[in-house]
Subunit: 214 residues, 2 copies
DNA sequence: ACCTGAACACCGTTCAAGT
DNA sequence: ACCTGAACACCGTTCAAGT
């Protein structure tokens, strides 16, 4: 048993049963050890969760500096969102704040480098980094908070909610639900690329505009 | 004592001492009542937090249908971000999922209506709604997770982090920190409007483009 | 160096009992 | 109708004791 195995097991537990199922006692069971032994490998639960967040950051496909910035950032953004969907608990965790791990640092360095080599000034790189990552995080959070995943579930859930909704009070919400969400083939996940491409196109314009955003 | 007072007191407690300080026993103290009495007014802690989330949604400035969509959405987006900054715990909560309260429904209806009256098709309204709100949520989350708030704190913190950073391993991150974050006048909060306006301009283009995003 | 039993100070929540 | 004491089954974490 080592730190790595503790973290990997904790990630698997949070993935399959949610962050609230991740208790030291339960994690101990999964590791065939008593809860107190875990403290030989992590300082405390905060340290553990921080390490988990850093571990999944390493799963994100790194953009290549040699690629064009736009397809490179697009690819890694899609990968980022996939990772956050796979580890839903991570959308509400955010390590990085106080002491980011090596996976997080490496990822950020590469993203910043991709913008810089793509012709973005330092200021514009900061804008781009903030804008894209905010969008990705926010989208992953919204997606996570939806009470359904499959299309059948969505349709069933939306139908129930629409039936309960005082439609005269919320006419626009009712219209959107009836004429869009309930339409066959609707999937909230499809919205991701729309917003992402909007943002990337905006960044391209910004990059090529003098001063405007500095 | 009534439900409203319970919720308002809980919001105040979470605002000032964080969500982890919000326990039923502690909330009881603030209400001058024993913890168990609270259950006369809320079903359980989940119900309480859901109600709290709905309560702060009502604080967001509603866009007016009669205004131009762009300034109207811009104004309410700034207000939304202010509310999330004021109630940092709310960025990780998200009720709406299963059973949104009246404050949430009313807000969503107005936003949707503003896009519809601004000439957005139903599909494009769905795109716009998702894109803007994802950005706002994500930005608020990033802002919350920063370990500093004032400019002095930022500078001090960034200096420490930069000193610890293996700069040869993360050259781009080091450059951004040294030449941007550490510059006088830097404030991460300023990034909000940059990304927001990028998104709003993108939405305007999308609105006026045939089919493209439908 | 790693594991463990017992213990401490907490949680959310139930329930029977009070007014 | 609202409040409460006692209790239950949990938490994270410490510490002395074991190998």
């Amino acid at each position: 048993m080592n730190r790595e195995r503790v973290i990997a097991t904790a990630v698997r537990l949070a993935d399959t049963e949610g962050l609230e199922a991740l208790t030291m006692r339960r994690l101990g069971e999964d590791l065939n050890v008593k809860a107190m032994s875990i403290y030989n490998h992590v300082a405390n639960k905060d340290d553990l969760i921080n390490a988990m967040a850093d571990a999944i950051f390493s799963e994100i496909e790194l953009p290549s500096h040699s690629d064009e910035w736009k397809p490179a950032i697009r690819k890694r953004s899609i990968s980022f969102r996939d990772v956050l969907a796979r580890h839903a608990w991570a959308t509400t965790v955010r390590d990085s704040g106080t002491n980011p791990g090596p996976g997080t640092l490496r990822h950020h360095d590469r993203v910043i480098g991709t913008f810089r080599n793509g012709g973005f000034s330092i200021e514009k790189t900061a804008h781009a980094f903030s804008a894209v990552d905010s969008y990705i995080y926010g989208f992953a959070m919204q997606e996570k908070s939806l009470p359904f995943t499959t299309q059948e579930e969505t349709a069933a859930m939306a139908a129930v909610m629409l039936a309960q909704l005082p439609t005269s009070e919320y006419p626009y919400l009712a219209e959107l639900t009836a004429d869009h969400v309930l339409k066959p083939g609707y999937s909230y996940g499809d919205e991701f690329l729309v917003g992402l491409d909007l943002m990337l196109d905006g960044l391209e314009t910004m990059r090529d505009t003098d001063q405007a955003f500095e």
